[in-house]
Subunit: 343 residues, 2 copies
């Protein structure tokens, strides 16, 4: 067996920390012999949970961190001030090569700012991007960017398209993934200033399978594999998914409970329906990778249970084995700086 | 009875024109004694349909227009070239005071461009806005702007907020409507450059009930009455609504047909469920008014059937009786240009 993939896990992050994080970590450890994990957080809080489980002790280490960054503090300030927080300590491990990846269900802003400031960008990457998988009728697509940095430049979008394409091809096994840019119409000349400027640049990229515009209406159909947009729009797309699905599902449940007749009907379809609705749950697709960093940073939903934590940790194996940062670096270097690099 | 509300209807616009448009027009005419309608379009195409119905002939006139603007032509060019198209002829009637309102299920771009160029803006309005009603758990909210002009300025958003507030209060009867701006977080300091600049301006408006940011996730809950955003984001919100709801409903239907057991269950709940899902159909809320114009322009879905056409025509009554353009003009004049206008 090759060397272990070392994953630093934010034991203190998320609504269900540390209990569910620790449970998910142990589950990941028991599911794969290829990983070693570091549980980063308050040792005294972690130990009682950990003592409940059976696992390979040689592949789990607690790394004490005395502070926690909450969702309520300004991320940039928190990252600078709380040097001994689980997020800062774990990301420093990635930076220093002591870990290959960092998984957190904690404050998104702090994870993103930390990724930027501590782990650091790949040379040539102007802006890292947060890229969650979103459910579609075909399975899922990658939505890039949903990060905290809005007001992107056209060249940022081109890098998002390349990084997303590499991820979908190498990690998700989507061959020659279709890449599209979110727009308000199907025609090339539509859009705001950003999209109009990015479109011809994307069209010129020979290393991606750019198929043009995608309207928001068609995203849930899964016609394209990589959905490119700037982070404000990405955020709206992701949260509309969540909001519309929740509202609709809530209404359907209400309807089913409205009379004896509907209750009997509901009983007959509820198991099947549950599976259908589950497929449309955006929280069920593991963590969102932050692409463009020197190491792997995975952000999972704040409401993650052990299952999502486990998935996010296991996701790191392919990321490391496929050397995604290396592939991104190569794509950016070759395509964006041919003169300086090939000289 | 006071004078009739005169509505010019685009007989040639939409996927189901002229049949459904004419049917809806007759239905509106029979439903209200307060309106007079002009069916604008190809007389030879209109007459055979019209002859099928009973209606008050004194209140319906065919206005012949020999051309039709299709969805496939560039709107600005079509409006300039096709002077005898139903959209241009009807909007000219509004401009010249021969009609109070224009209703069309035709090409959105052409209707918007025509509204701008032919009907014309209210003095002081920087940019008219298209403002559809969207379904929520509470009923509906107004989403402003979903028009064709993207890359708005902060001052545009302030005008959208005022116009939307006036519409919801006076037409929809929502008392002191809650106005919010779409953002990627609940905190005031979040957002892109546009939202950050608009927020303090909205906070200063004493004539609207500004409640701060709304995240896309919460829009379907109906927490706010007027959802303010620039048109690119508005378009994404509207189309995500449609896309997610369609995908989810499609999946649910598939699930219900998956076995004998689920088919029986489906039979027991289908009538109730149909009503529930109908409440989430964005096309079911009549037409979207284009606010900020000197007259009323209502754009209904391209797929409109007679029911939506009828609703859109009847909607014009309140708009005219409440003098929405007058109220908008007053709000803009008083609030935005106090020095020059009050001198």
């Amino acid at each position: 067996m090759s060397e272990l993939i070392r994953v630093a896990v934010d034991a203190m992050g998320g609504d269900n920390a540390p209990g569910e994080v620790i449970k998910g970590t142990v589950e990941a450890l028991n599911a794969s012999q290829e990983i070693e994990v570091f549980l980063v957080g308050d040792q005294a809080a972690i130990e009682p949970f950990l003592s409940k489980y059976e696992y390979d002790k040689a592949r789990l280490t607690i790394v004490h961190a005395s502070e926690v960054i909450s969702n309520n503090e300004p991320p940039a300030i928190a990252i600078k001030k709380k040097k001994d927080s689980s997020i800062v300590v774990a990301q420093r491990m990635v930076k220093e090569g002591k870990a290959d990846a960092f998984v957190s269900a904690g404050c998104t802003g702090a994870v993103l700012v930390g990724g930027h400031l501590i782990v650091g960008r790949i040379k040539g990457i102007e802006r890292p991007a947060l890229a969650p998988l979103i459910p579609t009728l075909n399975g899922f697509s990658l939505l890039i960017d949903c990060g905290a940095n809005v007001d992107a430049k056209p060249s940022n979008l081109v890098q998002f398209a390349r990084m997303g394409s590499i991820y979908m091809e190498n990690i998700m096994g989507r061959k020659n993934p279709k890449v599209a840019i979110v727009n308000i119409g199907a025609e090339e000349e539509k859009g705001n200033a950003l999209v109009k400027a990015a479109y011809p640049l994307l069209k010129e990229c020979k290393d991606i399978n750019f198929v043009g515009n995608v309207e928001a209406r068609d995203i849930p159909n899964g016609d394209v594999d990589v959905v490119v947009c700037e982070a404000f729009v990405g955020n709206v797309i992701l949260k509309m998914y969540e909001g519309v699905a929740n509202a609709l599902i809530g209404k359907i449940k209400e309807t089913m409970m409205s009379s004896l007749k509907t209750k009997i009907g509901a009983l007959l379809i509820k198991d099947e329906l549950k599976n259908t609705l589950k497929a449309f749950d955006t929280s069920d697709y593991g963590g969102a990778p932050m692409l463009g960093l020197k190491g792997l940073v995975v952000k999972t939903h704040g409401s993650s249970k052990s299952k999502e934590i486990k998935q996010s940790i296991l996701q790191c194996i392919a990321f490391k084995q496929q050397d995604i940062p290396g592939k991104i670096a190569a794509a950016i270097t070759v395509k964006d700086e041919p003169a300086s690099e090939e000289a």
